[in-house]
């Protein structure tokens, strides 16, 4: 009896639990990356315990890969040293944690995953309970294989209707954030459901669960179905909500959604494309754990094919993983991007967190397919960041200004 989150956690602890209770639960997998990893190692070392299970731990090099400063290189070195001491072999330098680990199958329906990164909600697209924790929590999980959770209430989002051409999961999520605000699902799980979600392929479901944290959610989930089990190759357990009691249900008519843009300086400052169209852009970034997957690049390539990006707009495209990169290469998208004058960078977080390349100067305006537009996120605190879908970003790169994709098609 319960919501998807309650069902998964009940099964995990072997008794029926309900929202509001605190549980200590075993996890299936825990990871940290090159920013949060070193502090997790520091916390772990204080416990003076061995690693719980080296095969169920991973470190990813993605936020600053390859290292751009001596200090970053030193942190990478510390992680490698730790992993070789502890026998951790999942040391992955092939893209963003949330894409690479999904590809590697660490998340399966019915599972529990924690990561030292807030967008660990992404894995919920597999029908597992997945959440982001800080470094100390993850260091403790590295030693014990467990963590505590307050069983969350659930916000149920029921999406129906067929999205108009050029409207994607990103627009649906931004439209929800627009309605409920940046704290709309604070401390809650979000269950994405309804015919529109059922019809989505895995890339789009990953986008929905990824963005759940950006309106406060502890976890974003999609009930596992045929799409899920096809993706996992049959791995994982059937798990379904049963007589769930939701804290709140939100009905979303996807057919009524225009392309959405989250305008500087907050994720919930969302407007229809029509209200911001024409704003000139210095940079466009297509990538990130939200929208750097193959279907995103395919869509971007469909706009850039045979055209050139506007000369005032540096356009940075970053595949989210090596596999995405190679698939994009094979499909010809990378060549399309290069011919269009875009800068294709190595798999990883890219400009998303303003730490490596594609950094913004004061007063510059950027459109990005990522998930955060806080002042200072991508460089200067005086830069302006607009969040949108790959379709909007690609169309805007061509015009050098925020553009409705329908106008370029």
């Amino acid at each position: 009896m319960g919501t998807l989150a309650e069902e998964i956690l009940s099964r995990r602890v072997g008794r029926q639990v309900h929202a509001g209770e605190t549980v200590v639960a075993d996890v299936d997998f825990a990871f940290a990356h090159d920013v949060t990893g070193p502090l997790a190692i520091k916390a772990f070392a204080e416990l003076d315990m061995p690693v719980w299970d080296p095969a169920r731990i991973a470190f990813t090099f993605d936020h600053v890969m390859p290292a751009n400063t001596v200090a970053a290189a030193e942190l990478h070195r510390q992680i490698r040293e730790f992993c070789s001491e502890q026998g951790v072999t999942n040391v992955l330098a092939e893209g963003i944690c949330h894409q690479v680990l999904v590809e590697r199958g660490i998340a399966a329906p019915g599972g529990v995953v924690v990561g030292a990164d807030s967008h660990s909600t992404t894995y919920g697209a597999m029908g597992c309970f997945a959440t982001g924790l800080g470094s100390t929590d993850i260091g403790v999980t590295f030693a014990t294989g467990r963590t505590w959770f307050r069983v969350p209430e659930t916000v149920h989002i029921d999406v129906h209707g067929e999205p108009a051409p050029g409207v994607q999961a990103k627009d649906i999520a931004l439209s929800v954030i627009r309605r409920v605000g940046a704290e709309g699902a604070d401390y809650c799980a979000v269950e994405w459901s309804g015919e529109t979600v059922a019809a989505m392929h895995m890339d789009e479901r990953l986008t929905l669960c990824n963005l759940s944290v950006d309106f406060g959610a502890k976890a974003g989930l999609v009930e596992p179905d045929a799409v899920t089990f096809a993706y996992t190759g049959g791995r994982g357990q059937e798990v379904h909500p049963s007589n769930p009691r939701y804290a709140r249900t939100l009905e979303v008519d996807a057919s009524a959604i225009r392309p959405q843009v989250a305008v500087h300086p907050a994720i919930d400052n969302v407007q229809d494309i029509d209200d911001v169209a024409g704003t000139p852009l210095d940079e466009v970034f297509i990538g990130s754990c939200t929208n750097g997957r193959l279907s995103d690049l395919a869509l971007a390539a469909s706009f850039l094919e045979g055209r050139e990006v506007h000369p005032r707009t540096r356009t940075v495209i970053v595949p989210s993983s090596r596999r995405v990169y190679m698939d994009a290469l094979e499909a010809g998208y990378i060549e399309t991007f290069a011919r269009a004058g875009a800068l294709v960078m190595n798999p990883g977080c890219g400009p998303c967190l303003g730490r490596q390349h594609g950094v913004l100067g004061p007063g510059e305006r950027a459109m990005t397919t990522s998930n955060r537009n806080y002042p200072g996120r991508m460089g200067s605190p005086e830069a302006f960041i607009y969040l949108a879908s790959p379709a909007v970003a690609a169309a805007s790169a061509l015009r050098g200004a925020i553009t409705d994709p329908a106008e370029v098609r």
């Binding site: 200590v24 416990l47 942190l75 929590d137 014990t144 940046a182 730490r355 002042p375 605190p381």
Partner: protein, 167 residues
């Protein structure tokens, strides 16, 4: 008795410590990066015992523990906000940085006002006025009793939460 350092709504971990300054695990370097762009004079003026007072959704954004660590390393006695982002709140509790929710304080005080917080009861005093913050409960209270999550695990392991039947 400390002084109030007042911040607004939606103060993100990127504002507390931009990603570009997280390239270290050295606590003193983290201390120096606190609010480095959002309020560059913070580190040079804050004194041990001072109190950060903020609006809604304090600490939203990334899970980076560098943010609460940098506040703690500056000797801040407590962060009092109208609400906290989930991961920030949990991280703060884990590392022993007191965090108290209080709806009223934000509109009642200004930068530089004196302020003291009883982090166990949530009682807040500023000048002649008193405010009732939400005292820590459940897991947060248990961890606070041990000082930090690491101290709790070292002392009792997960039994500290399981045996106490914390809810």
């Amino acid at each position: 008795m400390g002084r109030v350092f007042k911040f607004g709504n939606g103060i993100s971990t990127d504002a507390i410590m931009p990603g570009r300054y997280n390239v270290t695990t050295d606590f003193d370097s983290l201390r120096k990066g606190c609010f480095i762009e959002a309020r560059p004079d913070f580190v040079t003026t804050v004194q041990p015992g001072d109190v950060i007072v903020a609006g809604r959704n304090f600490g939203c954004g990334s899970s980076r523990e560098h943010a609460p660590l940098s506040i703690k390393q500056n000797g801040v006695a407590c962060v009092v906000a109208q609400s906290f982002a989930r991961i920030f709140y949990r991280n703060a509790v884990n590392i022993g940085l007191p965090v108290i929710r209080c709806a009223e304080l934000y509109d009642a005080v200004a930068d530089g006002d004196d302020c003291s917080v009883d982090v166990r009861t949530g009682a807040i005093v500023s000048g002649e006025r008193t405010f009732a913050g939400e005292p820590p409960s459940g897991v947060a209270l248990t961890i606070m009793e041990y000082g930090s999550l690491l101290e709790m695990i070292k002392a009792r392991g997960w039994a500290a939460l399981e045996a106490a039947n914390v809810s």
